[in-house]
Symmetry: C2
Subunit: 132 residues, 2 copies
């Protein structure tokens, strides 16, 4: 019972829903610094939100050097229904800005790996502009 309640608690937060939305919409694994730019939120906010989602096993992660790539834990049978539900539930335009920003940020990947890290917004926008 308590375990089920924890799932809903984890979903009762704007930052965590925005993060989940990006995993769902991009269908990709994402690292902390990419999510920072997608949501325009500080590192510790993203990191703490990820821990909560990991604790309910909705996310899993892989380390690659100092980078940590999180992704939806879609293999876990008990998650299938929930993820399906979330996909429909999050079908709304309120996340559009996040989705645009993460798309731009992901365009900077090389071989589908993050190579940028944490950089000032100004510098980020320049990189993106150059890329286009």
């Amino acid at each position: 019972m308590q375990q089920r309640i924890e799932i809903f608690k984890a979903l009762s937060d704007e930052t965590r829903l925005r993060i989940l939305n990006l995993f769902i919409k991009t269908g990709k694994n994402l690292c902390v610094c990419e999510l920072m730019d997608g949501l325009k939120l500080p590192q510790y906010t993203i990191s703490k939100a990820l821990q909560v989602l990991k604790n309910i096993n909705l996310l899993k992660y892989e380390k690659e050097g100092t980078w940590v790539y999180y992704k939806l834990n879609e293999d876990l049978p008990e998650n299938k229904l929930l993820i399906k539900f979330l996909k429909a539930f999050l079908q709304t335009e309120v996340f559009e800005e996040d989705e645009k920003r993460i798309a731009d940020r992901l365009s900077l990947r090389e071989n589908d790996k993050c190579v940028v890290g944490i950089i000032p917004e100004k510098e980020l926008l320049k990189l993106i502009k150059d890329k286009k």
Copy 2:
């Protein structure tokens, strides 16, 4: 966005999940005093939980005299997916006792209406025993 968060907050509570489970499992409308006996919780706890679920439009209600019958708001299109999800999500044995108690309590209805009100447990058990 905030509205969506409120939905998950409303589901992040044991009493409210137990109540929802009874609506889902019985498929019936239920009044406050019946839920009191199903969950063995005080009147104000049930009543407050119902207000929260009503506020997110997951429940609706009908008054009949001093009795108030709540039920799942299944007509509302945006609830269909959520209720479907909850049906599967609450598929667990942890609610068995609640379900037994509400079944007993509902056996005391006449013309499918509550006629018992709020009564001491001892008296309730006697009524149920006599009925059987």
